[in-house]
């Protein structure tokens, strides 16, 4: 892309992002969401966060990968276990990253 085009992308992304972030903060005055919908939105964060994580763990280069040679899956499961047992985010990240790096450097041959 040319210099000018990249600047257009920067400006465009800025506008699109701020308009969508502010959408219902502005429109909510005129189109109030029903209580039921607002209630359902309480589940949105958890669903979004889980949905961001699972493809990263279970999908490798576009294919479903449920093997112990998948470093991200194994490291992610390690982080789940550490979180459930210690409730420490630092520990979960340290153990997870250590597992990931070890598996990456010492590939398990199935």
């Amino acid at each position: 892309m040319s210099n000018v085009e990249i600047w257009l992308v920067v400006v465009g992304l800025t506008l699109v992002t701020i308009l969508m972030r502010s959408s219902f903060l502005m429109l909510g005055d005129y189109f109030p969401l029903p209580e039921r919908v607002q209630h359902g939105l309480r589940y949105a964060p958890v669903c979004a966060l889980v949905a961001l994580v699972t493809p990263e763990l279970f999908v490798t280069q576009g294919a479903f990968d449920l093997s112990i040679t998948n470093p991200k899956l194994v490291a992610g499961l390690a982080a789940v276990v550490v979180t459930l047992t210690t409730r420490s985010m630092i520990a979960a990240m340290a153990i997870g990253m250590l597992t990931f790096t070890l598996l990456r450097l010492l590939p398990v041959t199935a």
Binding site: S22, P45, P55
Partner: protein
Amino acid sequence: MKALFGSRPELARVRREGFGRGIRTVAPLLIGTGIWGLVTGVAMVKVGLTTTQAIAMTLLVFSGTVQLASLPLIAADAPLWVVMLTAVVVNLRFVIFSAGLHPFFRRFSIARRWLLSYFMVDMSFAMFLSRFADAPRDQRGTTEQVWFFLGMSAGSWVVWQTMSIIGIVLAAGVPAEWGLEFTAILALIAMTLPLIAGKPALVGAVTAGVIAVVAAGLPLKLGLLVAVVAGIAAAMATEIMLERHANETGGTT
């Protein structure tokens, strides 16, 4: 401090406490944010943005997902409208977020709402709503809540921008195969698990997780959106079934 929290002692105390609580709540997540910011900074420059363009992008857009989603398209010399459409789809979750936050921020002027919405990120939305969603109608948008949001935002913003700019300046430093961006995923795991409280949330989370994997092949991050909608629907269906079950057993005894 007066410049930030105002000069009325009682109000300043509430603001300061909310702000501090927001910073403390978001702090453990900021390691992931920082590394993610660093990676994004490096990636922007590697794709061909100048230092000025990259710094402008991170300051103005302030959304890792949108920035990272745009980079392969910039590299591939895609038409402008394709980049914008991709941004719209990736941003669809912000529409849900802003609807969720509206009851809390409705008392503010339009200008202040623009400012608050600039700071809206996945993490702060999730932490905010998981903390205050049960607040009764007349206790939404209290000073304490708004300053809690501002505290989380300030923490995220400072760490993200600092690390992004360091990444932009260092650019070539970190080898890609270290996979440092994976720490962001690990941080998400550690922050999400404690939020899954109760059967409806568990059903919703599992549904969203499975659908996200199944729909991972969909282009433009649409899979994420489908997964979120399916997860919410599953959680609410579970809730209704549990209510009905409770009513039935309550009626017969």
